[in-house]
């Protein structure tokens, strides 16, 4: 059978679904029986499109220009990556903080009628004449896709014109996927196709690819690098704050691992298949269990099982008395968790370190990877609600209002207005990961739980936009089987 090339659309993987309301036990049973089917929501709130993730994944590459072949609105969310890039420079001690070079082709009515090729050419020309960059990434959009601009052909043509800049199209058209993490895959597919080009290079002893999205703080980067260096590894930290040189080094590595479950997971498979680079795909290293698991995963790949156990034992000795102090403050508290794929499951494992009870979990996709985590959580917690949703705050507030958890972990905006103490696990500017991140996070949860005044008073004054009747309804009322995509 011919090998099917992965399209970058995460839904293309069988058994992966985005719309489901269930419980931990039921999800696991149904998945085993093959009863979980694609569904849809007949009513939904806005999602995050994959183009946002494609741009965010690469935005901090220093010798690149980023060209969004789109109307102006499609670079709105780039501010998040731009902000991370700026703050990241400050954290790295850079005084003259730089902007990334972002150019929007600004597709307009004329382009919709006549095609956007002219504007794209102009944008690339500006990128090259202004910055003579090593890399120029061209990001597709819904509009460029629908009007039928052939960005591959245009980029190939421009490549001949500008041989000193690698011109790389990325197929991140928003309408292609409901899963924003598809955008990471689209970026990596293009990196492989246009930069690495399936060519093997000389191996560098001890080099490990550490893939990290922009949302990982510098404190976390340092912690991850420290842990890998303890195993005697040299770290190629990519693509955040990296460069063409570091990307080109990817195939020289002896192993790969990622900080996030849905970041470079498919790419690491490709690196294994095409460049013989073994990899570890485990969990996000948040909390003791997950940090151990993540650490052991990569140690095994590089044959450092014995060494890692010694380090883990030492770290546990150091960290456990401190974790116990936090556990004494949090034991038995009921928690609702909402987050991206990596962080939601990592947070769910984390609360076990503190003896907390999971009552609800909201995460964007269910697949065989999620099944492993759900089975683990089923072994610890009696019964918890599972909402497979990319945000969908209307479902979240319905569930949180019914479940009345003691604490909420995730985007705080809505649960806070219900008066529940909230803690965010997605803090790209402060520590979250590894053994020390655990303490920062644990103390944050405990402090907020013990001093919930702000959210309580907020809830007394600010009302969410939903009708009272909605809180009485089934939270999963709008999830429908037919027309699933």
């Amino acid at each position: 059978m011919a090998k099917v090339t992965y399209s970058g659309v995460r839904e293309s993987k069988p058994g992966r679904l985005n719309d489901l309301g269930t419980t931990g036990q039921k999800a696991s049973e149904d998945f085993k029986k093959g009863c979980l089917k694609r569904a849809d929501r007949s009513f939904a709130q806005g999602l995050q499109c994959q183009q946002i993730n494609s741009l965010a994944a690469l935005m901090s590459l220093e010798d690149a220009v980023f060209i969004s072949h789109s109307p102006q609105g499609c670079v709105g969310c780039s501010i998040m990556a731009v902000d991370m890039y700026r703050v990241g420079q400050i954290h790295r001690g850079i005084r003259n903080v730089k902007n990334p070079h972002l150019i929007v082709s600004n597709i307009d009515q004329k382009s919709v009628v006549f095609g956007g090729e002219k504007k794209l050419r102009e944008a690339v020309e500006k990128a090259v004449t202004r910055y003579n960059p090593k890399l120029a990434f061209v990001f597709a959009s819904c509009a460029s896709g629908i009007i039928g601009d052939d960005i591959d052909a245009i980029c190939a043509d421009l490549q001949a014109e500008y041989p000193d800049t690698l011109i790389i199209p990325i197929h991140c058209e928003g309408f292609k996927s409901k899963i924003c993490a598809s955008g990471f895959d689209a970026a990596f597919i293009s990196i492989n196709k246009y930069i690495l080009k399936h060519q093997k290079v000389e191996k560098e002893a001890g080099l490990i690819n550490l893939f990290a999205p922009t949302t990982v703080s510098y404190a976390d980067q340092k912690e991850m690098e420290r842990m890998l260096q303890l195993l005697g590894a040299k770290v190629n930290y990519i693509p955040f704050y990296s460069s063409l040189e570091k990307i080109k080094k990817i195939p020289a590595a002896e192993a790969s691992t990622s900080i996030c479950k849905v970041f470079a997971d498919e790419f690491m498979k490709t690196l294994y298949e095409e460049y013989d680079i073994p990899y570890s795909h485990t969990v996000m290293p948040i909390g003791i269990r997950n940090t151990d698991k993540w650490y052991r995963g990569i140690a095994k790949v590089i044959g450092k099982e014995k060494e890692v156990e010694e380090i883990i034992a030492k770290e546990h000795e150091r960290i456990e008395p401190l974790v116990k102090k936090i556990r004494d403050r949090l034991q038995g508290k009921r928690v609702f968790i909402c987050g991206g794929t990596g962080r939601s499951f990592a947070a769910a494992a984390l609360i076990d370190d503190f003896g907390m009870e999971l009552v609800g979990l909201e995460t964007p996709t269910y697949d065989d990877d999620a099944q492993v985590d759900i089975d683990y959580l089923n072994g610890i917690h009696k019964e918890f609600v599972v909402d497979i949703a990319n945000m969908q705050p209307f479902e979240q507030v319905n569930l949180v209002n019914k479940l009345k958890p003691d604490a909420f972990i995730g985007v705080p905006e809505w649960a806070a207005k219900l008066g529940v103490p909230t803690t965010h696990v997605l803090d790209g500017k402060r520590p979250t990961m590894g053994y020390d991140g655990l303490l920062f996070l644990g103390n944050k949860i405990a402090d907020q739980l013990e001093n919930p005044g702000f959210n309580k008073k907020l809830a007394a004054h600010v009302k969410l936009p939903y009708k009272e009747s909605w809180y009485q309804e089934d939270a999963f009322k709008y999830i429908i089987r037919e027309g699933g995509n």
Binding site: P71, N96, Y478
Partner: protein, 429 residues
């Protein structure tokens, strides 16, 4: 019409529409668009404008049909219909507006017909059929008001000679919009007027419907809102007074107060009393910090409204030296550029600065970099900080986009705002 732009300031038409609707109490936008448009449009304006966003629905709280491949190929009106139904069922809004994303616009979904099905059932719901790709946030602001003028604002509302409507300040696009509107409201209230800001004080769709009762539309902007202003006058008989730039500080604010007084034939003694009182308040403070701010030769990089306001205050009221002003929002009509140039050049004592119209960040940076005259203060946006750092000039984050400050009700406008502006310029280094 849109140009290839490096680091654009603001979003598409949809972003501007969303900004306005988000600022009106209990109004719910419904997107018929691709899956990322709610987040992207909110991030384009509100997300870069001092970190506050609509308390009602914004970003991923906005109902959306999230059009995927299937809808692109087969049309998305069925998906839109169930999305509208769901929004009406669960969101406790006074009015709903159905917005058109690029996807829906390009494939040509009939949004008006679907919306009408619900309107016929008595739901207060309106379509806005201007897709994202047709322009920028500024056009979005005008598009919403055109929709209100065509479909929402009521005729035959009894006139109220003390009621005025304020336009020209785009919520969530101008980072200081709340504070600016509150300052305008505060000043005009002292003249005995009732003020429709539409976006503060919990004003909602009812205030918009009855806005045809106003005695005067006051447009605080050198160029925006010409079309809707004409329509207000022809359809509802509400005349307009254009204030050709934001007023910062005593000089221009007093001029503003006098213009309103004249336009509405207000009691001159009252007008002068308020002015005297407000000016006394400002100068009482200014008089307590003489020589505290070092002398500056300044550049401003901002939208036209704020560029006019900042430049005129710093030059006319604070005797700093204007060197270069870059108007960094897209202005297409030559006559609008002329108005802006006039406002910035027509200074009391200072020599007029060099004035450029540049939206592209590379061109903005080049202009600042290549300026031969010394610049010791730059007032600009987060995107302009890089060039200020390179120049080693003092930098005040005072314009959109603004990522490194939290802004609730702060403003640099009016009498009181000018004191805040002056406070921020203080630099102990």
């Amino acid at each position: 019409m849109s140009n290839v732009t490096e680091f654009p300031k603001g979003g598409c038409v949809l972003a501007g529409i969303n900004s306005v609707l988000g600022a009106i109490n209990r109004v719910c936008p419904i997107y018929h668009s691709g899956p990322g448009c709610c987040m992207q449009t909110t991030a384009s304006d509100a997300g870069q404008s001092g970190h506050k966003s609509s308390c009602f629905v914004s970003a991923v709280s906005i109902p959306s049909s999230n059009m995927l491949e299937k809808e692109v190929v087969f049309g998305g009106t069925n998906k839109l219909r169930t999305t509208i139904q769901g929004a009406i069922d669960i969101i406790d809004a006074d009015a709903y507006f159905v917005l058109t994303g690029c996807t829906a616009g390009i494939i040509g979904d009939d949004i008006a017909s679907v919306t009408n099905e619900f309107a016929e059932k008595g739901i207060e719901i309106y379509p806005i059929e201007t897709p994202g790709f047709t322009g920028d946030s500024n056009l979005g602001y005008e598009t919403v008001w055109n929709t209100f003028l065509d479909k929402v604002i009521e005729k035959d509302v009894p006139k109220d000679e003390k009621l005025v409507n304020i336009f020209g300040i785009i919520p969530y696009h101008d980072p200081f919009w709340s504070g600016t509107l509150e300052e305008i409201d505060r000043i005009l209230s002292r003249l005995g007027l009732r003020v429709n800001t539409f976006f503060t004080k919990g004003q909602g769709i009812e205030d918009i419907k009855k806005s045809s009762a106003a005695a005067l539309n006051i447009i605080v902007n050198p160029w925006l809102f010409k079309g809707p202003a004409a329509k207000y006058e022809s359809k509802f008989g509400v005349p307009s007074l254009r204030i050709p730039g934001l007023f910062v500080g005593a000089t221009d604010t007093s001029k503003f107060v006098r213009s309103v007084g004249e336009a509405l034939h207000l009691d001159k003694d009252l007008v002068e009393k308020v002015i005297a009182d407000e000016e006394k308040y400002v100068y009482n403070y200014l008089g307590q910090a003489i020589g505290v701010l070092s002398w500056k030769r300044f550049a401003v990089i901002a939208d036209a409204n704020n560029a006019v306001g900042f430049t005129r205050y710093l030059a006319n009221d604070y005797s700093f030296t204007p060197v270069l002003v870059i108007v960094s929002e897209p202005i297409f009509r030559p006559e609008d550029k002329e108005t802006i140039i006039k406002e910035i050049s027509d200074l009391e004592y200072a020599k007029p600065p060099k004035i450029l119209f540049l939206t592209d960040q590379y061109e903005i940076n080049s202009a600042i970099r290549e300026e031969e005259e010394e610049i010791t203060l730059i007032v600009g946006s987060s995107n302009d900080r890089e060039i200020a750092l390179e120049k080693d000039s003092q930098f005040i984050l005072g314009a959109f986009p603004m990522s490194e400050r939290l802004i609730f009700n702060r403003t640099y406008a009016g009498y009181r705002g000018s004191l805040t502006f002056t406070e921020d310029i203080y630099d102990n280094n």
